[in-house]
């Protein structure tokens, strides 16, 4: 059973978003996503300064068996990426909601995060998928 962190928001495509005190939004992939991918070997993060739109493919996670796009859950500008992932992509496998964060985005509007799935709704999505 995949772990679903309670204090953050999710997408149906298995990204999560966390509104930070400074107003930026931290983004990563869910425990379900990392489990489905398996051992990650490479993470491609976007350039800092890039403008991303909701639903736009902006990062790639590559495991021993597959490579998947990561879609931005919100619109905004990338202000930071997790540089540690370049050498230790397994942080996503080990701690997907913490040290395995992928990027921070300055949102166009904070309300977009509010509109995302909460933990209960995301758990329901996983249950419907049989996960």
């Amino acid at each position: 059973m995949s772990q679903v962190a309670q204090d953050i928001r999710y997408t149906k495509s298995h990204e999560w978003a966390r509104l930070l005190p400074d107003g930026t939004v931290e983004i990563g992939i869910s425990d379900h996503a990392q489990g489905a991918l398996g051992d990650l070997v490479f993470v491609e993060t976007p350039d800092v300064g890039r403008a991303v739109a909701t639903g736009e493919a902006c990062a790639v996670v590559e495991s021993v068996k597959a490579a998947s796009d990561v879609y931005s859950p919100i619109s905004g500008t990338v202000v930071a990426v997790n540089a540690e992932l370049a050498t230790t992509p397994e942080l996503i496998n080990q701690d997907c909601y913490g040290r395995g964060w992928m990027m921070r985005v300055q949102p166009k509007s904070a309300s977009e995060v509010e509109a995302m799935l909460d933990a209960a709704a995301y758990a329901a999505v996983l249950a419907a998928e049989g996960g």
Partner: protein, 457 residues
């Protein structure tokens, strides 16, 4: 397993099962306007007997001239063992196998090939080969655009003295993907890329600079200065090299302060016969930093559960059978058989043997230039250092002279009228280790006569 094509009965049964009237209906999602009915200019198929006869006739038309033609494809001695081994049943396939790991021998051979190419070019990783030199240049440009994250311009600077076919292939392949190729003139005295012609591009966003060593004229570029210029401008360096020459020239990995970023070229000189122009194979090597942006297959060495050495396809997640439309490249194959021949050629020659081929070719070419420029009305076009080719300028059109040589069983070189009209009547000549002093003497005598005849006419 034998390959048995479907019979008309099989096809009817399959269509019935899926409820489709005929095979054409399977393609009905392609708009009618985009479909081609028939291929004009392409004749009907021929049977084996007919095609065998036709090809023998064509081969006879080629004749067996004493050839001083290079221009991208080079006549080198190929030890008999190369193709005797390459055509063994264990190797005799054009493809990397689909169930690749079942063929450990094939994978080990590709791994050895990659190791040799990486070492020859001074780079860290190699793919399992590409189609040919031209497509390798195109793929290198596309790769530079993917790998170079700070450059957004898709602008690539190419020397005017880049092989014209490579430029054409690069433009037709990568041009439609938004890449722009801009030409950098050469110096008329040396034949080398003109550093002054690069000046106007300083401070601009340039994705990559292509450097061909030796260039199309056979002239050696000042690769260190060009590489450092490109890196000072934040551009990648794509090296296009002749693999034989690398046995005696500085490998691209050591060009300038930082070395080239991507190295490509045509592998034909490594054991592949001229064969009227192909098939040849392309090679590509790069730094480990950019391996995920490199097209083509890559074989890696690993250990199995018992700790024994094994070989495996690696980094497949960037290929199209996994990443679909977002794959690094649509090139997920290689020129298996030609690459096999090259691997065997390289292992038979060894570093010392390859260097002897390169040195002998250079020496023969120097002798050729000396002999031909003694002919009145023939002079050397460029003063820059050379490998095994040179451009000669004439005071009469080259075409008729070449035809007269041809009548005497001599292929004198490439008439540059079509490619570099600015040079006036000019001929690109080449000599490799296959040419003897007597061959060169014969060419010089025949050329002297042909030029005298042309002047008298």
């Amino acid at each position: 397993m034998p390959f048995i094509p479907h019979t008309p009965t099989d096809i009817d049964e399959m269509l019935k099962v899926i409820g489709v009237a005929n095979v054409d209906d399977l393609f009905d999602e392609i708009p009618a306007a985009l479909r081609v009915s028939g291929l004009p200019g392409i004749p009907e198929g021929l049977n084996e007997m007919q095609i065998g006869r036709l090809m023998s006739e064509r081969a006879r038309q080629d004749g067996r001239p004493l050839s001083f033609l290079g221009a991208g494809a080079y006549e080198h001695h190929i030890p008999s063992a190369v193709w005797a081994i390459t055509t063994r049943g264990e190797f005799y396939s054009a493809y990397t196998p689909y169930q690749a790991e079942a063929s450990q021998g094939t994978l080990q051979l590709i791994y050895e090939y990659q190791t040799m190419m990486a070492s020859l070019t001074g780079m860290q990783v190699s793919n399992a080969s590409l189609y040919d030199g031209g497509s390798a240049v195109a793929e290198a440009a596309l790769m530079a655009a993917r790998a170079h994250r700070r450059s957004k311009s898709l602008r690539v600077l190419v020397p005017q003295a880049l092989h014209p076919n490579y430029r054409k292939v690069a433009i037709s392949t990568a041009g439609n993907q938004g890449m722009r190729f801009e030409e950098i003139a050469y110096q008329r005295e040396s034949g080398q890329m003109d550093l002054a012609a690069l000046k106007p591009f300083e401070g601009q966003d340039i994705t990559a600079l292509v450097i061909q060593q030796p260039n199309f004229f056979g002239v050696l570029e000042d690769v260190d200065a060009l590489t450092d210029w490109a890196h000072s401008q934040g551009a990648f360096v794509i090296a296009v090299v002749n693999p034989t020459s690398l046995a005696i020239l500085k490998p691209p990995g050591e060009w300038g302060t930082k070395g080239a970023d991507i190295v490509v070229g045509d592998g034909q000189p490594l054991g592949v016969p001229l064969s009227s122009g192909g098939p040849y194979f392309g090679f590509m090597t790069t730094r480990m930093d950019y391996v995920r942006s490199m097209p083509g297959r890559i074989v890696g060495r690993t250990v199995d559960l018992d700790g024994k050495q094994g070989f495996t396809l690696t980094l497949q997640a960037r290929e199209q059978h996994i990443r679909r439309g977002k794959a690094t490249s649509n090139i997920c194959t290689n020129q298996g058989l030609l690459m096999t021949a090259a691997t065997i050629y390289l292992s038979l020659m060894g570093p010392v043997g390859l260097a002897r081929v390169a040195e002998a070719s250079h020496q023969r070419a120097q002798e050729l230039v000396a002999a031909l420029t003694r002919v009145k009305g023939v002079r050397l076009a460029f003063g820059g250092p050379r490998f095994h080719e040179a451009v000669l300028q004439f005071d009469r059109p080259v075409g008729p002279i070449l035809r007269e040589l041809e009548a005497q069983g001599l292929q004198g070189g490439l008439d540059l009228a079509e490619f570099h009209p600015e040079l006036g009547p000019a001929l690109l000549v080449c000599a490799t280790e296959t040419k003897t002093a007597a061959d060169i003497e014969r060419y010089a005598l025949a050329l002297g006569e042909a030029v005298r005849n042309a002047r008298a006419a």
